[in-house]
């Protein structure tokens, strides 16, 4: 131990030693976490089997045995996938800002604008509490109404939590299809709404804004430390909020796996039951939960015979046509425009559901 006080004038780095040490620790921890992630992930399946049948001594053929094994495998598996995907998407999103997106979309032609808006909707960080300022900011900067809608539809629907869960529980093909169809619905619905020229059905105060110029926001320059911080906060915020729902969903899924007989769902949600898709879409509207709770349940239902298209339509409806979001949009849209929005998006989701059932 050095009994003398350290010299302040020495040529040290500008960063105080405690912060530098902390940063080194976090980087080491992150690298360690990444290195360990894959082997742990691979061992979840055998571990779950050993725990349920070996340690707890449950009968693999029993309802309880099957349910517990499912829970012990899928619970941690989904959470691990969530952490990794949310982190990387968080870092990716740090490269995008609503201000930059607005600049890209301002004055774009329809069609191209809709495609760009949907894509950017997925990549731009967007909290649903920003829906109103973002909407007004976009339309006042000259982003066409339909293009703005493409952004607003894509953003919540094609979110990383949904994709992570679909990837983990259904595989990459289903996740890709969901992303593709989600973007498709956003593009087409936004384009249709744009063609209808419904600017007059915006709330009066928004239309007033259209005549006033709005200040262009600055896009802050971000360091890599800040970008990684984005990823870390994303994990803390999103996974921190969502993990309970994941466990509830997986728990419910486990119960369905263990106790519901095979092919039970065919009668109600099967491929040939054409009315199951509209019913699923309708049921999704008043419900609001995030993807975290819904996907595990859907996985269990489809394993018991429900058609994947119906299940995905239900999920899209729950996320994209949520009542809370519609209440928020009421501040900028009149009833008529909101109704058109809901109708067009619902029709899109219906189409996707039927198409999926027919193809898969």
């Amino acid at each position: 131990m050095n009994p003398q006080p350290s010299c302040c004038g020495a040529s040290r780095a500008a960063v105080p030693p405690s912060a530098a040490r902390r940063r080194a620790l976090t980087v080491t921890a992150a690298l360690l976490g990444l290195a360990l992630w894959w082997p742990v992930y691979r061992s979840l399946d055998p571990l779950a089997a050993w725990l349920s049948f070996g340690l707890f001594g449950l009968d693999p053929q029993s309802h309880l045995g099957e349910a517990v094994r499912f829970f012990l495998y899928d619970g941690p598996k989904v959470l691990m996938l969530l952490v990794v995907i949310v982190f990387f998407v968080g870092v990716l999103r740090s490269f995008f800002t609503p201000e930059a997106t607005r600049r890209v979309l301002a004055g774009r032609r329809r069609g191209v604008g809709n495609v760009l808006a949907a894509g950017l909707g997925v990549l731009t960080p967007f909290c649903s509490c920003s829906a109103v300022p973002l909407f007004v900011g976009f339309v006042t900067a000259g982003v066409p109404l339909g293009v703005t809608f493409s952004f607003l539809i894509a953003a919540p629907m094609v979110n990383e939590v949904a994709l992570a869960l679909l990837f983990g529980l259904f595989g990459w093909r289903v996740a890709l299809f969901y992303a593709g169809f989600g973007l498709g619905v956003a593009i087409v619905a936004g384009w249709i709404i744009g063609r209808l020229n419904l600017e007059r059905w915006l709330q009066p105060w928004v239309r007033q804004q259209l005549s006033m110029a709005s200040a262009a926001g600055d896009s802050p320059h971000r360091s890599w430390a800040e970008r990684l911080g984005f990823g870390r906060s994303a994990v803390r915020d999103i996974v921190g909020k969502v993990w309970v729902w994941v466990l509830v969903g997986v728990g419910l899924g486990a119960v369905i796996h263990g106790w519901v007989p095979e092919d039970f769902m065919i009668r109600v949600m099967g491929r040939d039951v054409w009315w199951s898709v509209p019913l699923a879409v309708l049921l999704g509207v008043p419900m609001y939960t995030n993807a975290a709770g819904v996907v595990p349940v859907i996985q269990a239902l489809t394993a018991k015979g429900a058609a994947l298209g119906t299940a995905l339509a239900f999920m899209m409806s729950v996320i994209a046509l949520s009542l809370p979001e519609m209440l928020i949009l009421r501040k900028v849209l009149t009833w008529r425009l909101l109704a058109v929005f809901v109708a067009v998006v619902a029709a899109g989701i219906l189409g996707v559901g039927w198409l999926f059932n027919a193809l898969i």
Partner: protein, 82 residues
């Protein structure tokens, strides 16, 4: 002296950041004389300031942070508090 504004639409994230900033400023005690902490929920004002993603932290008219709730450490750094 210093005017600190937190822009939000009333969601929990925005409110939490406002409370955190108020707390940090209050902890500064005497040094924080004359510092005004304001919460803005009017969308038109947000437009005029050029902010679209909330919550946002604005100090003396300059947008320092926007898009998500800042952590305590980040807030301390942005506000110049040790």
């Amino acid at each position: 002296m210093k005017k600190i504004q937190i822009l939000g639409t009333g969601c929990p994230t925005c409110c939490k950041m406002y409370d955190a900033v108020r707390e940090l400023v209050a902890q500064q005690g005497v040094e924080a004389q004359g510092v005004v902490v304001e919460k803005i929920t009017d969308v038109q004002q947000m437009m005029q300031m050029g902010v679209m993603s909330v919550p946002a932290l604005v100090v003396d008219g300059k947008v320092l942070f926007s898009g998500r709730g800042a952590t305590r450490d980040e807030l301390k750094g942005l506000l110049g508090i040790a």
